[in-house]
């Protein structure tokens, strides 16, 4: 993270502790976003720690009063894409809480396993997965999600739409990959689109 800004004046101790308090407050959300992105809780938490270090180092660039959650999500996302390029995440999936939770859709006989949903999610190309996570799970507006991903609102809408369609189809047809997502499908899909994502969006850290 180097955008060569001018050296900011040193922050006061109280600025620092405000920042720390806000940052601490979003950690659960960072964990949730990271878990959705990379599936394995331990790797997700590593990613969150990496994000916290980067956020801390960049704290002079955070504008107080803006969304800490959005700001740190940008950092987490960039760290994730970098790690993906280094091949750290392989769409591995660890059965955790998700395995034990069933969603009972109204008027449907077969409940959907959250773990199926999560696995299906992990097969999506990174850019669609993150768009759907931000809007469909994190509760961000399309506009906020677009700012986080550094792309147009229309792009986010279309990614979310495609992600939904793909998941719906996968869940309806039962074509959800089983446990071991060393799975070719997932991995190939992720790598294929990664170049697009990373070339399209440089490191933008605007809140």
């Amino acid at each position: 993270m180097s955008d060569g800004g001018q050296p900011a004046p040193a922050r006061s101790a109280s600025d620092k502790s405000d920042f720390k308090r806000e940052l601490t407050g979003v950690v659960p959300h960072l964990r949730a976003f990271a878990r959705g992105l990379c599936g394995r809780p331990d790797l997700a938490d590593d990613l969150v720690q990496e994000t916290l270090l980067k956020a801390w180092a960049a704290q002079d660039r955070f504008e107080p009063g803006t969304s800490m959650r959005a700001w740190t999500f940008v950092i987490l996302r960039n760290a994730y894409l970098t790690d993906m390029r280094r091949n750290r995440f392989r769409g591995e999936y660890d059965e955790g809480v998700a395995e034990r939770i069933l969603i009972e859709p109204a008027g449907q006989e077969e409940p959907i396993h959250l773990s199926d949903l999560h696995r299906a999610l992990l097969t999506l190309p990174a850019e669609r997965r993150e768009a759907l996570l931000l809007v469909g799970a994190g509760g961000f507006s399309y506009e906020e999600a677009a700012a986080i991903c550094g792309c147009a609102v229309g792009t986010i809408k279309s990614r979310v739409g495609r992600a939904r369609a793909a998941l719906s189809e996968m869940l309806a047809s039962g074509a959800v990959p089983r446990r071991s997502t060393d799975d070719e499908t997932a991995h190939r899909a992720i790598l294929e689109e990664l170049d697009m994502v990373s070339s399209g969006n440089g490191v933008s850290t605007r809140g």
């Binding site: 180097s2 620092k16 601490t24 659960p28 720690q49 990496e50 760290a79 809480v97 999610l121 469909g136």
Partner: protein, 72 residues
């Protein structure tokens, strides 16, 4: 941010591909919220405490995360 209306911003306005939230949409929120609600491992607070105690002048190398806060 907890449980806001399920199809509010998806359903309104944009009349394109995604008219309605699919029935699994709520599951996505559950996945997310279940992690948000987990107890926060101490490693995170420890890490932030250490950062706070360290002068901010040190180089912003985000890769240096082997300070004993790994795991979980």
């Amino acid at each position: 941010m907890a449980s806001n209306h399920p199809q509010g911003r998806n359903g309104s306005g944009s009349g394109n591909a995604q008219r309605r939230a699919p029935e699994w949409a709520d599951g996505l929120k559950q996945l997310y919220d279940s992690v948000v609600e987990e107890d926060l491992p101490d490693a995170f607070r420890d890490l932030l405490d250490r950062l706070e105690a360290t002068p901010t002048t040190r180089s912003p190398s985000g890769d240096n995360d082997d300070q004993g806060a790994g795991g979980r």
